[in-house]
């Protein structure tokens, strides 16, 4: 009885799946899906040789500091860094006094209340503050940017396929739309408020090209030349740090753990062989 029932259920499910497949294949042949602009023009992020790649990679402190500079002078005009505090910059190699200065000189003030009247106001940020957002709320962010609110960047390299490579490729990927795009997919051409970038999911993004010219940011002594390429790499590295501040601790702990476990594994194999010796021998 069970087997007859099962047979019928199996026949129904399998049979209907094959019928569905046949109908799907027929439709596919009859009216093949139209190719999409994304499918033809979207590019995979470029591979960048970052210092933090690989199982033992670490952050390059100088690069993170340069990246912070790019973020402060360029990105922070529109993007927040919600989950990062000024005090966290200690990990970039700054001391307490330097962090205090960075906070004091930050382009945006921190929200506060007037202690006497209770009215909303702003004040100079201090080390324990989160990085102040450029807009007081999402509505303001939308209003100032053609209805496209700039996303928070704290976790950006973990929130996109390709991570730091994606951020770098996007920042350096702005270009004029190819003539072929105009010919084949006129609807996918950038509009008045969007900009063509083949590394962006739907090819056109609201953000105008943020890094325009070499030397847009002035790096300190001994730093590499602030080319667009270099600035994009530096800020991508910085945003990797904001997304994964414990990366170095993680890899260090991991190396110790794996070495320990290899020894432990060896001991377990030894114990196993020893204990089973008599059973294996006379078997």
């Amino acid at each position: 009885m069970i087997r007859i029932g099962a047979f019928l259920v199996g026949l129904f499910f399998s049979g209907w799946l094959l019928v569905s497949a046949a109908m799907g294949a027929f439709n596919f042949v009859k009216s093949p899906p139209a190719p999409t602009a994304e499918h033809e023009f979207h590019k995979k992020p470029k591979d960048v040789d970052f210092s933090f790649n690989g199982p033992l990679g670490t952050y390059d402190r100088a690069q993170l500091q340069r990246g912070l500079q790019v973020f402060r002078e360029v990105c922070s005009a529109c993007h927040s860094l919600h989950y990062v505090s000024f005090r966290d910059f200690a990990a970039l190699g700054y001391n307490e006094a330097q962090i205090k200065t960075i906070a004091q000189e930050w382009p945006t003030e921190a929200p506060s209340i007037n202690p006497e009247t209770g009215e909303a106001t702003t004040r100079k940020p201090i080390a324990t503050d989160k990085i102040p957002a450029p807009y007081p709320n999402e509505v303001a962010a939308r209003a100032a940017n053609n209805n496209a609110a700039p996303p928070d960047l704290s976790l950006m390299t973990k929130a996109r396929h390709g991570g730091a490579n994606y951020v770098y490729s996007l920042l350096t990927g702005y270009q004029n739309p190819p003539a072929e795009l105009k010919k084949k997919f006129p609807d996918s051409m950038p509009g008045k408020t969007t900009h063509y970038n083949p590394y962006f999911a739907n090819l056109n993004l609201a953000m105008p090209r943020p890094l325009n010219t070499d030397g847009q940011v002035t790096y300190g002594e001994g730093a590499p030349k602030p080319t667009v390429d270099q600035m994009a790499k530096d800020v991508a590295a910085f945003l990797t740090w904001t997304a994964e501040p414990k990366l170095e601790q993680r890899k260090r702990a991991g190396t110790a753990a794996v070495i320990f476990l290899l020894v432990f594994f060896g001991l377990c194999v030894g114990a196993y062989k020893n204990i089973w010796a008599d059973k294996k021998a006379h078997a």
């Binding site: 199996g10 499910f13 799946l17 989950y83 702990a253 476990l261």
Partner: protein, 425 residues
């Protein structure tokens, strides 16, 4: 229960004698996983995965309890509280990544454990109850994992919750009220997040309880073995301790090596980047996919694209997805072959390795991919095979197959293997 030659627990000093009289817990442990439990001597490494699943559950419970101390189940702060754990809690990143990847490790070992049971016929009498309890654990695990994935309240959490609870919306007439009732609202929100957190904390302990029943039921007939031949004499068995505790030690060490590699060097490899974007009901991700361990079932769900008479395709998909798991409960009656082990079943073995395993891998690949026409087509063939394999092919194989001769005993099989392994001596 157990075999007449099982070692008997002998309390060695005054304290253990006293304890044995008042609360024989040491005796219980001795008989369950100690020297008092005789186990077939020929178990291979596939028999390690039950213990490994237990280890994985313990990792999840311990790391989960610590996470719950820092997590806030409230829609506006849940995402930020997870970031707080990652950044500000001492070793919070370690605990959180351990819990995240621990779930994947749990499913990896449980899937291998299930496939062990499928290949070696562990579901056959007298162990049907062990199999059924195992499937109950599997269902509970799936519910727990799904609800746990919602808690960080990222984009995939939110949309995953919406899609999965939406499955109940496919039930005719009462579907939508049921969905609203389950979520405590029309879409996943604070009410859903809170009940998911509550249940996510509860269910692992229910799983623990069913594991006790699973092991209890196992100890009545005793463990199965790769030959599928039942234990006949003392020669066929060794005491669980120290023989299998030592072998499980090797398994546990290997398990933690893989786990540590994943956790420390590729913690987000198995995750979706979208879940690092806070939940946003106004923006649908381009591709909503569940975690990898649900991919085969997700592929079956999406494989139904055509209505059958008055049954909408969506409802068919939901029914098929649940049927894909529930049919496993009927296996003891579908596969009537008297031979348990796939080793001695030439036809069964071919369908297992060249039919079922590739079929599940393909379904998994399709479930994790963007549902293009090609992917849906492939998953339809794979899903058709999946149902045919269990419901049609397996009962037929049992009828037509001529199994290879079985060894007379476990010991004979072990001796024969040693003879072929050392021909030069």
């Amino acid at each position: 229960m157990s075999f007449p030659w099982a070692n008997e627990y002998k309390p060695s000093n005054a304290f253990t004698r006293y304890l044995d009289e008042k609360l024989p817990l040491p005796r219980f442990v001795y008989n369950a996983v100690g020297a008092g439990y005789p186990v077939p001597r020929n178990l291979n490494y596939f028999w390690n995965f039950g213990v490994l699943a237990g280890v994985a559950l313990m990792v999840q419970i311990v790391s989960g309890i610590i996470l719950a101390m820092h997590y806030a189940a409230e829609g506006t702060v849940a995402f930020a509280s997870v970031e707080h754990i990652m950044r500000d809690v001492n070793a919070g990143w370690f605990i959180r990544y351990a819990h995240m990847n621990g779930a994947s490790m749990f499913f990896i070992v449980v899937y291998i454990h299930i496939f062990r049971g499928l290949f070696y016929g562990s579901y056959k009498p007298p162990r049907e109850m062990v199999w059924h309890l195992g499937l109950v654990i599997f269902l509970l695990m799936m519910a727990t994992a799904f609800m746990g994935y919602v808690l960080p309240w990222g984009q995939m959490s939110f949309w995953g919750a919406k899609v999965i609870t939406g499955l109940f919306g496919a039930i005719p007439l009462v579907g939508e009220p049921i969905q609203t009732w389950l979520l405590g609202g029309f879409a996943p929100d604070n009410a859903a997040l809170n009940r998911f957190f509550s249940l996510h904390y509860l269910l692992p302990f229910v799983i623990l309880g069913v594991i006790v029943l699973h092991i209890w039921a196992l100890h009545i007939p005793g463990s199965s073995n790769p030959t599928g031949v039942e234990v006949k004499s003392e020669q066929d068995t060794v005491p669980f301790h120290p023989y299998y505790t030592a072998k499980d030690g090797v398994g546990v060490a290997a398990f933690f090596l893989v786990f540590a590699t994943l956790l420390f060097f590729a913690p987000n490899f198995l995750g979706e980047p979208d879940n690092y974007i806070p939940a946003n009901p106004m923006s649908t991700p381009a591709n909503i996919v569940p975690e990898w361990y649900f991919w085969p079932f997700y592929a079956i769900l999406r494989a139904f694209t055509v209505d059958f008479l008055f049954i909408p395709a969506k409802l068919l998909g939901v029914l098929a997805m649940f049927a894909a798991i529930l049919l496993l409960f009927f296996l003891p009656w579908l596969d009537t072959s008297a031979v348990r082990s796939g080793h001695y079943r030439p036809l069964f073995r071919k369908f297992f390795w060249f039919g079922l395993i590739p079929c599940i891998v393909v379904l998994g690949y399709c479930g994790g991919s963007h549902a293009t026409d090609g992917i849906v087509l492939i998953s339809q063939f794979a899903a058709a095979y999946y149902f045919a394999h269990f419901l049609i092919i397996l009962p037929l194989i049992a009828r037509v197959e001529t199994p290879k001769p079985l060894p007379n005993s476990i010991t004979e099989a072990v001796l024969a293997q040693h003879a072929t392994l050392q021909p030069a001596e």
